[in-house]
Symmetry: C2
Subunit: 357 residues, 2 copies
Amino acid sequence: MNTKLIFTNNVADTLEKYVAENNFSDIFVHVDVNTAKFVMPILESQSETIRKAHKITSPAGDDNKNIEQLTGLWKQLSDAQATRSALFINLGGGMVSDLGGLAAATFKRGLTVVNVPTTLLSAVDASVGGKTGINFNGFKNHVGLFYCPDVVIISTVFFQTLTNYDMLSGYAEMIKHAMLKGKQCFDKVMAYDVTLPPVNPDALIGLIKESVLIKKDVVDADPHESGLRKVLNYGHTIGHALESLAVNDRKSTLAHGFAVAQGLVVETVLSNMLKGFDSAELHKLATYVKNSYGPYDITCDDYPKLLEYMRQDKKNIDSGNIDFVLLSDFGKPEINVTVSEKDICVALDIYRDLMGI
Amino acid sequence: MNTKLIFTNNVADTLEKYVAENNFSDIFVHVDVNTAKFVMPILESQSETIRKAHKITSPAGDDNKNIEQLTGLWKQLSDAQATRSALFINLGGGMVSDLGGLAAATFKRGLTVVNVPTTLLSAVDASVGGKTGINFNGFKNHVGLFYCPDVVIISTVFFQTLTNYDMLSGYAEMIKHAMLKGKQCFDKVMAYDVTLPPVNPDALIGLIKESVLIKKDVVDADPHESGLRKVLNYGHTIGHALESLAVNDRKSTLAHGFAVAQGLVVETVLSNMLKGFDSAELHKLATYVKNSYGPYDITCDDYPKLLEYMRQDKKNIDSGNIDFVLLSDFGKPEINVTVSEKDICVALDIYRDLMGI
């Protein structure tokens, strides 16, 4: 990954410097209605680059990562006569960088992309690693590609306006990264209360940097997810299935991080069942998730639908199988573990017990 | 470019061997209605792999390189539960590999692609180099990306059913490659009559191989068209504008190669005007194009539209400018030459004189 990561609390100056060092024909800033309202005015007041740039606004929410919005972005770039030497800045959460990244990567075969994540979730996850995508045919990120941003500017200044709910949503990925790294990391993350008001940017930035670098190391070693990178899907096979269930069958939404938090518990149950992951650590995780996130209410009637979504997961090697990342211990992931539907149902039962539902 | 080029007259065996050496979860063959009718039955009779594969058929013609067909391909892959380990074979001309390549590159962030070009044009051009794309908002290949096929299997056996018109369409790219290489190559290509019946596959394959390798060398040196690769656009700035004029304003079609042939003449006029390209060689080219392809009928009333299409060309560095590849001599291209609208109009006037229109 050639992406440069910049950790800073001065986003405007960083952007001005970057633009001055390069020779872009034009600058586009992609936001959603939320970042248009809460973040754009701040950056505009500080940065002439942002003030002068073309603005492209998408509606907010993961269900707008769709073909219609993608086509709309292409249309706006085309009508503005964007050339391939244009810069495309994604200012927002994962939805903004997933959708905008795909549009920019495929417009005239690729513009230069800079991501400025405005949520904890996108700072530690979506903005790094080059994954772009939209939902399609009822499946999450079914269409997309790997396209690395040139620069990611990570700052905690935007988090001041986030809710505890937003912070927790991002924190689930940090728990995941910690579990992939080692027990020391995990204990540090378990000990920090991301919901304590007021959010302390300085205390948090150290944890974020550590977390992002865990991800970056993995992505650098395997940019196209042919093997190792799959470890980053820990918690996500179940997590994505829960999100699909929420959106498609319950016509509701489930924040990605909240889905992943549940997924981490279920997949750590599987790790315990099939790979001997420590029982006490599983209980520590389950208690943290139960207390901080609460359970997601499912019954055994939901299992067939959930299994169907899991079978469609991009990471399955053979059609029909369901593959997981499982941990034998902290820092010891194993990829492509095919798990039987029976074992998955047992793990879901145990999850419900642990969560008291 | 990691693409492996295989020149063979036994496509079926080559495919069987390739599939046997790899471990694909599933195989999809993408054709258009023409290759479905004329080529698929032959390959099916020779190859169990092709016989058993999922078939995906697109309508024929460049105007079907659009968002609706792209979405249709994604839908068929999704409904067939294609995993990321699937193989996607494009069996057809440039339309099949441009559209199919984009669909395969963006489905679940990328399947393995093999191109089997069935026309001379796609053999020497579209199937090599990783460009994929669809037309959008009235512009050709406005949306797309670079995605290299794993293997390209090039054979002249499919050309037996092509018309002289098809052969000439492909030959224009071979003229272009020859001009980029050197005078000796150019003379060889000018001396061969691709329209002579019957097409002699053995005589042609040598010329094709030479031509494809010229392109491959350029692509290998600059896979993402940041510089050198732009030389391959010689003749295409004008060529694409003529195609856009035909489709958008005349509601007709103009075969890509026929458009490029005209474009080569106009851009060689510019090369002569601005870079001192030899006058006698320009006349040799113009005579060949006039006799083999005939002129494309334009008047000065078409110039404003043509200029508008040129301004939208992906290769322009600054919005508003029109950039060309020009030759000071055979094998001596210069990229990013910004040309004034006045000079372009003069060159179009001279083109019309040369063509007698």
